[in-house]
Symmetry: C2
């Protein structure tokens, strides 16, 4: 790419390494950045560094946050006796956006991947075990909201098996046909599962 100068080429190359950014997008972004006021570029660069350096895991739920406790774990209005187990902070955010859940979360930061030998110690599972043993914060229900993928299901099954003996209620979010989804575009596994789990009306 010697038709661009070194700096532009470097910038395009750096941007192209980011997920979902191809050559065309990287070029468009690079020229946008070059034409931005200098202070804005500095601010963007600082935000990157700042976010990366200040981020840590919430000591309660293991989500990515910048304080010892994330805003949800620190909240007094949330129901701390209901824990929804999700795979990632993005999944937590997805449920928060619904505005329908007022419990707290536990973010596994991954799933078990039996095929790759990724076990419970490779994710934030032990933290969950420890958390439910805390006598000051009794847990009433654990809602398993890992993805409906092979690994997500395996993780849900593993947690169920391990925590069932504690007597805590363990539930799994429903899977089936998405609301508004057109049947002809939905994969067979989802369709079969929706059939098996059909409910009485």
């Amino acid at each position: 790419m010697n038709y661009y100068s070194t700096q532009i080429t470097n910038l395009i190359e750096e941007l192209r390494r980011l997920p979902g950014i191809g050559t065309k997008s990287a070029e468009r972004l690079a020229f946008h950045i070059i034409n931005m006021p200098k202070e804005h570029v500095n601010h963007l660069a600082e935000t990157l560094i700042e976010a990366r350096s200040k981020i840590r895991y919430c000591k309660e739920c293991c989500t990515l946050t910048d304080d010892e406790l994330c805003p949800i774990c620190a909240s007094k209005v949330r129901d701390h006796s209901t824990i929804m187990v999700v795979e990632s902070t993005k999944d937590l955010a997805a449920y928060e956006k619904t505005g329908q859940y007022d419990g707290v979360y536990h973010v596994l930061q991954g799933t078990l991947v039996p095929s790759l030998g990724k076990g419970p110690d490779d994710i934030r599972y032990r933290e969950l075990e420890k958390r439910i043993q805390d006598p000051d914060h009794p847990v009433r229900e654990i809602i398993l909201a890992t993805n409906s993928s092979l690994d997500g299901e395996a993780t849900a099954m593993y947690i169920t098996k391990k925590l069932k003996p504690t007597g805590i209620r363990i539930t799994r979010i429903a899977s089936g046909v998405p609301i508004g989804g057109e049947l002809e575009y939905i994969d067979e596994v989802t369709l079969s599962r929706a059939l098996i789990r059909r409910i009485e009306l």
Copy 2:
């Protein structure tokens, strides 16, 4: 978006301001960045700042570059008597990628926009005028490669009218049906122009 911590929210907001980056992409990018090794993030941030601060216009052709002369204007193997006039550094790169052009460029950094009163002094047109008057570097041909848009055509017409009296050969890149393009998906203006400019076989 209070379900993310302040740092993550800031980062997502900053990324969302970039062109072509929506909320979903900004979130994906943000989480990718947070999970990158610290040194990589620092390097990305430095590249942004470096590119923005070192970029300037080539004193010959006005493209964006980091030296006084861009690599093409500094090259001794290029034909300096043929100048292709383009709107932007991205357009220059598009022609360089073809590998079919060995002349030099002049980058207008925009077009005339008659409807908004944007005239020849608002783009790098005067630099072109000055450039072709240099007795040490006689120019044999000017190829107008502005876009086939309304403003691009207006700019090409303006330059033709102004520079015709110099006696320099002035040409315009061909417009017509793109190679491999299917007629049914091509707009009427392109189709009519392709018809008008049809060639004998």
